[in-house]
């Protein structure tokens, strides 16, 4: 198979087409369609094509399809060994992104232990205010007190060093006790009224909300007598029809928004990297179709595919992530029906893996008992993908897999922060936007590790 692909690749090079769009299987017919695509301007090399923009249906904002998520800025250790944002790198990333057409920047007061807004603000201050749209959120998870909440809002303006916020969100509704929690956070304390007045005053240009979890809250809030300018939802080719327990299929969410004409902002297009760090045979499957494109590019093309999508957020920690996404979106090449079906099949295959739905957002952290929750879950996922989670001691690679799992576990997660120290208190659960039953998953992994250690698998 590989030699076939190589042959096709060199053939395409001769034709002078940079990226092949291989929707069919064999060579000649697909080449002719490539030429058509190329003629209509679908070459995708970073900086070569033009970024795709979407126009906001009511206010006319021309928003880049790639939005910058500021939850995963590069970190470094300061003198005291504390993790702080690497401001120099952030500046470089923001400069590069803006220079290549990105104009939507999304942050929140709680990101990166509260460091994201300030760092983002510093980087953006170096650019004209009209060159970007800034989005931030009302992250009133710890308090429902009106004054405290207003303080969170004012603080955002200050940290971002702006007079107005382009896109302001009620952060992560649908969690906790559903509508009851929503009312406590935004209605009973008069906070929504305040935010609506701020919108009238122009300090908030667009008001919306981000959603995870209980579909009743989604329906209820969307039906409220409030003009929502946008809604942020979790959308990717797995969640489209196979949302995990406690979450809602994105197909439904997007359809509801389309009905109302409310544009969507997409989060978790890549599931925190889970749709790029996949098991080998899924990687091979995606790469086989488009050998020169990244695995992640499939997820981004899917996320941006739907017409109602205003922008797709990506938390790009490294320049390479940014470059890859720019390549995918400059411009966005729509998925064919065949490709959509192919991705749906891929999603089904993906769901067969016992992957934990952790997107490494770290909302659950810090665990009061010191457990490294995302560390444990992501390490497990990594081992699943690498085939190092043996099902029994009879597996062919049992010994290597056991050693790989246990050695890399100690390397990745400090011993006192490992799964065996989880108290099962469940304080983390309410914070998880993916609604993972964290103590249950941790216990499952702990039991598995015990079986590995005691060789009783």
């Amino acid at each position: 198979m590989n030699t076939n692909e190589m042959g096709r690749r060199s053939f395409l090079k001769k034709l002078g087409v940079a990226t092949a769009v291989v929707s069919g299987a064999s060579s000649l017919s697909s080449c002719s369609s490539d030429n058509k695509q190329a003629a209509s301007g679908t070459q995708s090399k970073a900086g070569q094509g033009e970024m795709t923009y979407r126009v906001h249906p009511t206010n006319g904002d021309k928003v880049s399809i790639l939005g910058y998520g500021c939850m995963r800025w590069p970190m470094k250790k300061n003198d005291q060994g504390k993790d702080i944002v690497d401001q120099e790198k952030v500046n470089e990333l923001i400069d590069y992104a803006l220079a290549h057409g990105v104009n939507y920047i999304d942050t929140a007061p709680v990101y990166l232990q509260g460091q994201s807004e300030a760092a983002t603000g510093i980087a953006l201050k170096r650019h004209p205010r009209d060159k970007f749209f800034i989005a931030t959120k009302m992250s009133n998870f710890g308090t429902t007190d009106f004054d405290e909440c207003v303080k969170i809002y004012k603080n955002s303006l200050e940290k971002l060093q702006v007079d107005y916020i382009d896109y302001y969100l009620l952060h992560s509704i649908g969690g906790g006790k559903g509508i009851e929690t929503f009312n406590e956070r935004f209605i009973n304390n008069g906070l929504l009224d305040f935010l609506l007045k701020e919108r009238e005053a122009g300090r908030i240009r667009n008001l919306g909300w981000s959603f995870h979890g209980d579909v009743k809250v989604f329906d209820h809030v969307l039906a409220m007598d409030v003009k929502w300018d946008f809604v942020q939802i979790q959308l990717n080719y797995v969640d489209w029809r196979h949302a995990s327990r406690g979450n809602v299929n994105a197909e439904y969410l997007q359809a509801e928004l389309d009905k109302k004409g409310v544009p969507s902002v997409i989060m978790e297009p890549l599931l925190g990297g889970r749709l790029s760090k996949m098991a080998d045979h899924l990687v091979a499957r995606l790469k086989q179709r488009r050998p020169e494109d990244s695995v992640a590019s499939w997820a981004f093309r899917f996320a941006g595919h739907h017409k109602g999508v205003l922008t797709v957020l990506s938390g790009m920690t490294y320049k390479e992530h940014l470059e890859d996404n720019l390549r995918t979106y400059s411009p966005l090449e729509p998925l064919t029906d065949d490709e959509l079906a192919f991705l749906e099949d891929t999603a089904v295959l993906y769901k067969n893996y016992p992957i934990v739905d952790c997107n490494d957002c770290k909302y659950c952290m810090p665990c009061p008992y010191g457990i490294d929750i995302p560390g444990i879950l992501l390490h497990y996922n990594k081992c699943v993908n690498e085939g190092n989670v043996p099902k029994s001691s009879q597996d062919a690679n049992y010994r290597e897999a056991r050693r790989a799992y246990l050695v890399s576990y100690d390397r990745t997660v400090e011993r006192l922060r490992q799964a065996d120290h989880c108290t099962g208190c469940g304080q983390c659960n309410e914070h998880c936007p993916q609604r993972i039953n964290i103590p249950k998953e941790i216990e499952r992994i702990d039991k598995f590790i015990e079986q590995l250690k005691q060789e009783t698998l």
Partner: protein, 493 residues
Amino acid sequence: MTSKIRKILAGIFFTLITLLFLDFTGTIHAWFGWMAKIQFLPAVLALNLVVVVGLIVLTLLMGRIYCSVICPLGVLQDIMGWFGKKAKKNRYRYSKPLNILRYIMLGVLVVALVAGVAPLAALLAPYSAFGRIAGNLFAPIYQWGNNLLAMIAESMDSYAFYSVDVWLKGGITLIVAIVTFVVLFVLAYRNGRTYCNTICPVGTVLGFLSRFSYLKPVIDTGKCNGCGLCARNCKASCIDSKNHAIDYSRCVVCLDCIDKCKQGAIKYVPRTKAAAQTAPKKDADGSRRAFLATTALMATAGYAHEKKQKMDGGFATIIDKEIPRRKTPITPFGSLSAKNLAQHCTACQLCVQVCPNQVLRPSGDFMKLMQPEVSYERGYCRPECTKCSEVCPTGAIKPITKEEKSSTQIGHAVWRRCNCIVHSDKVECGNCARHCPTNAIQMVPQNPNDPKSLKIPVINTERCIGCGACEYVCPARPFSAIHVEGHEVHREI
């Protein structure tokens, strides 16, 4: 030639025995664990008649070859002495034996063993002294080296090496090891085997036997020109070249003299041939070096707790656990009872060194000085591990299987409400119950009238084996809310 064979054999024994103390993977033990078990004093304590008789026969046959090949402390002194010989050639000279001192030391050991004064016996035992040096001084270097390799392996995404914690297991033991090492180095550097022929009780016992050994090095008076080169290269200071006499109670059969003698006058031959040669006369003069008697310094050094101030922001700080005040100390699985351990253990540190769960550490208690003690701040006695019982050469920790271990009670868990997070933090936990390998812990609602009230652990002490899983995984810090009290005598449950 013969001395070359001796050196090669000694090198093999020394390397492998040292590796027993360094290797934390258990691979070396599987193959060469017997090397610790053929050490004289451990074999005596283990009542291992086969080994004891074997060593006696060996000595009667070949002299104190044990001291130059099998005993790691002896070979270590040869290595130290090599530096001395590098600095100054032909540095040794004959000296008269200090038999009174030797027999006193042997007497002290016997009395200490019989009376159960463990620390004294431990100080005198040569193999244990080596174990402490290897475990406290060599092992950290080995482990740091390993950790460096692990770092490199990690950067290459290889699982060939994994890093291990290097931690101070016992301050007093470390000090004893350092003092022993320094004293030995000074003695061996200057005078060779002084320790072996004045202090070492094993040397004294074997020396008594080796007088009558079948094979021995003998000076051929016909060939000897009296140059004295042999005496000046005898690390045991036992060749009286003037009188062509060798003190066989001190000769460790290193056979260096044979190589040194330019006349070929010394041969390692059977007694029958030796009779043909001149008998030794009484020694007239002979100087001796002053012997340094040094006792170990007693210094109070508790466990140095390195405070792990990990201020990641993303992580809650975890403070180190502290050792609870146990009414009865815990002794390892297989040790049968505190008494059995105290009577047989020579504090060689082999068990401490191989414990992969950081459970064993040398005691700082005077009566059990440097003998292994169990505690669960850094790990617990895991069900799949029986390493300490496999390696113990003295029978202080007797071999035990995983199955036997799971039904042996070395202690029992005790719950303290005030520390439990169910009480202090008002949250659910139950981690102790989840990790109990014998299901000795049940979680019950704390209010008998309210089944929905938070659950607290209750311990069925009849089922508890004292492994410490509960104590280790308990989230309460620095003192666990559940801890193990030892039992003086282990029981079967």
